[in-house]
């Protein structure tokens, strides 16, 4: 059964949406009209330029409301969630003792030139994030936080030398697709070194989704707002599955 869905303004299926953007032209009435036409060309209907103004010489900013005629079929979409196992730190530790029966070795780093450790620190450091303790605090994880600007080569070497079970690669800087380039390089090098099947490979960052992770050949991807226990639970379950297999 298909479930078609459209944006909702104040009436079912009205398709109402808001858009805002900048055009590299001086503001004028013609600029407003250019904004309207652009949005109309995207297929929107009843396009109304609610606001158009100059924000700098040669630049104008617009807020536009419009209705879309298109819809999406939600029932035909599969976006696997990695956050299915809501568990506390104690539950996860107990689960690992029972189902994995050894400590899990986890390493994490900000790869490439990225120096923004806020994501990896939130997941690994004792303190954790938002009241949820980081992996260092777990009894059944041995966590290594390699910090920032770790090259893909270094991380792979560390993985091999320390028999790492799960690898967390973080990328906060996403300019010009550098995050994708680095994640891809990591996956490829692990593959080349014959380590890919031995580790649970996880990526994280504000723009990361689990869908993106799947496309990159990673086991999971965690985005903004992820709690350490969500990552911990995923790793614990995946380790248990591997042990059972």
């Amino acid at each position: 059964m298909s479930t078609l869905v459209k944006p909702y303004g104040d009436t079912l299926d009205d398709g109402a949406m808001q858009l805002s953007f900048t055009l590299p032209i001086e503001w004028s009435e013609a600029a407003d009209e250019a904004a309207r036409q652009l949005v109309a060309k995207m297929g929107f209907e009843e396009v109304a330029v609610a606001e158009g103004r100059r924000i700098a010489s040669g630049f104008s900013f617009f807020v536009v409301y419009a209705r879309t005629p298109v819809s999406a079929d939600v029932s035909a979409i599969s976006a696997p969630s990695v956050k299915t196992h809501a568990m506390s730190m104690e539950e996860i530790d107990a689960f690992i003792r029972e189902r994995v029966r050894r400590k899990i070795r986890v390493a994490g780093a900000c790869i490439g030139t990225d120096a923004h450790t806020v994501g990896i620190d939130a997941i690994l450091n004792m303190k954790g994030y938002n009241g949820d303790y980081g992996l260092e605090r777990y009894k059944e994880f041995e966590a290594f936080n390699l910090g920032s600007q770790v090259s893909v080569e270094e991380l792979v070497r560390f993985t091999r030398d320390h028999s790492i079970d799960a690898l967390l690669a973080s990328q906060v800087v996403t300019q010009k697709g550098s995050d994708i380039t680095n994640f891809t390089a990591l996956g490829e090098l692990l593959e080349a070194e014959g380590l890919r099947d031995r580790v649970i490979l996880i990526c994280g960052g504000p723009r990361v989704t689990n869908l993106l992770a799947a496309e990159l050949g990673f086991d999971a991807g965690f985005g903004r707002g992820t709690l350490p226990s969500e990552v911990a639970a995923f790793i614990a379950h995946r380790m248990a599955d591997r042990r059972a297999a």
């Binding site: 805002s20 900048t22 010489s57 630049f59 030139t113 990225d114 806020v118 303190k127 600007q149 300019q175």
Partner: protein, 521 residues
Amino acid sequence: MELRIDHAVVARARSLATAIVEPVAAFIGAHSTVSVERAVLRLLGVDGVGRDDIPLPNAVLDRLDARSRSGGVARWIGRAVAESGEAPATLAPRIAAGELDLEDLKDVPDDAARGALAAHIAAGLARVATRRGERDHLLTRLPQSAPPLLYVIVASGNIYEDRAAAVAAAEAGAQVIAVIRSTGQSLLDFVPYGATTEGYGGTYATQENFRIMREALDAVSERLGRYVMLTNYASGLCMPEIAAMAALERLDMLLNDSMYGILFRDINMKRTFVDQHFSRMLNGYAGIIINTGEDNYLTTADAVEQAPAVLASQFINEEFAHRAGLPDEQIGLGDAYEIDPRLEDGFLYSVAQAQLARQLFPHAPLKYMPPTKHMTGDIFKGQLIDAMFNLTSVMTKQTIHLCGMLTEAIHTPFLGDRALSLENARYVMTTARHLGDEITWKEDGIVERRAQSVLSGAVDLLERVAEMGLMHAIEARSFADVSRPPDGGRGFDGVFARSADYWNPFEEALRQAHAEKALAR
């Protein structure tokens, strides 16, 4: 809207900061670094690149072995000038290429070397003084709008795109433009050369990029009738060199913290302490306002818990800065609005901290950083949090205000994001301009108690640090919950002990200029 604070506690904090910095200052006085020496070369006019694009300051210094280096690079250049009669800039490519061996000149007498270099030292200082004079003149002719000075960041990776964004931001009300550096640059032990168009998360700091941006901002300053300031980063492994370049190209502010690189970039602490000192001496002479990085304590840990660490670090930064000859008016101590928006009375705590800093450092151009940690993809909420940050800043009279971006959590700012952010700040700061003057804080109320507890927490931390010594305290995780050993981290191999006859003519001159100024006061 003064908060009641115990001045005896404040005096205690300052005397602890003095006690903490004293032994480090002794270390600094006995050492130099490769980056300090390269800054000396730059001030003597050495610039450009040689073979394999190696910057000439690096290539020249690499020609000296450790023993020769320990006396300072200036004497060697002085000898070469004395022998050849040529300028350091002309000699450098030949030294770099190995055509001229400095070690062959070891018998040139000291007096001759010093005498020969005198004109070049004077010329370097004069270039810096001229740029400072230009700024003073421009600020009189093209006065800035009242603080908080609205500060925005450009970070495209391409200096020419940055230039367009900077000009647009200035037109939209920005008074300070910072060019964020490419993410890897803090760990490079050289400064790249020339105009650059490739960078990740930012644009390389090069002298040519500085010049390009300064020129564009000067033009827009004239057009707008107000001086637009330029900021970059004297941090990482090349602090002193960046400070020298910034002095030569009339940058107005530099991020320049005494501990940031140690804690957050794993740069060796000894390297950082020595480098920050000389870079701050240069900044003092060049009239450049430093911005310290205390906001980083808050982005990596809980902002309520870390407030005393911020204040303790401000006292330490202030002490290091004073020792380098920086007057209060050039010490832009940092803080940030990072308290969890869900926390009840979080706004009151933020106001308390900001007001406390204002009272404790009354002449410092405080740098207030925007919320980043609790910003999400919800740009509407983000704009609202930024508005509360803007209100705090204008209420507590912060001086340098880094405008928060509604898209903080999503991407490096779009041109339109910057305009919306500046509009937000201008609106809040106009509509609430004199709010701070109208407020009297409730005696022993939430705000006052919070300020007092932050202050006493800072003193406790300073007591512990003073007892351990700063270097060991850093190793023992006293700051940012990070441990760094005194001899670990990047750049340690570039630190060396000064020989008995060590000579850094710029340090000598700047110290003298500072002493004369102090005497005149």
